[in-house]
Symmetry: C2
Subunit: 156 residues, 2 copies
């Protein structure tokens, strides 16, 4: 028998008022993904954001910080710190631009490329873990929908 005057103590807490909203579902899912991804990257000396920065520097040689910040939708001011960390680790270099003395060209060192390659393999495994229970067709729908939602949000 349940006491009618007792407190809600068990696992029967209802969150149906929130489950209807994408924002709530996205936050919950993203938190779970982020926790596993953080654990995945830590042994490689990277976090989500520094992994992303390193990936784009590897993929886009001689990338400028301002272009990188725009691509990742990160404030330039914050990007500086992430590049500092990658530079101090010896994985990314800043070389002065030949045409614009305000600007720099970012490049991954050989070690940076190797670290990235190893981390990417781990991230790929992580991704498989997270998506293992889903149909590939659903994954495609989700990725496309996320891009659409992002574009919608940015336009407001």
């Amino acid at each position: 028998m349940r006491e009618t005057t007792g407190e809600q103590v068990g696992t029967n807490v209802s969150d149906t008022a929130l489950r209807g909203f994408v924002g709530y579902n996205m936050k919950r899912a993203f938190n779970a993904v982020q926790a596993d991804l953080t654990r995945t990257l830590a042994p490689h000396g990277l976090r989500m954001i520094t992994y992303s920065v390193l990936a784009l520097v590897v993929e886009n040689p001689r990338l400028r910080p301002s272009a990188l910040a725009k691509a990742l939708t990160v404030e330039r001011a914050n990007l500086v710190v992430y590049v500092d960390q990658l530079e101090q680790a010896g994985w990314v270099t800043r070389t002065p631009s030949s045409t614009d003395r305000r600007a720099y060209a970012l490049q991954a060192t050989l070690e940076g490329q190797q670290v990235y390659a190893r981390a990417m393999a781990a991230v790929r495994d992580h991704d498989q873990r997270m998506l293992g229970a889903l149909d590939p067709s659903d994954v495609a729908v989700v990725n496309k929908a996320l891009a659409t939602i992002e574009a919608q949000g940015r336009s407001l």
Copy 2:
């Protein structure tokens, strides 16, 4: 003509190395959603997390903090601060449990219920804005997939 020695400066920065991963797409989409939701809730004196706490307290009368923390997957230590804020605003009360002298029962005040009702309407509009460009069938797939991904992540 493009200089072969120049830096990548334009909008042609490739992030295909990251686009293949759900985590990256989720982070981008969630950031955009969160920015609009933050703007949506600010006039009501709420943030995402305090809105969620208030919602569950309204929906689950006499809820215990520990059960609430578990339902929202939030640390108890952090929940204390959110409840403090809602209590100071006069929207939630802590009353001692009649059966367990360590515990409290959370309840929404009348004003808390009214604030929640108004905020919920705004959140509903926000949700419509974010999903406006998607098929309802895709929304269903996304919500279900997000729940599956979350469950997968939590189990690791």
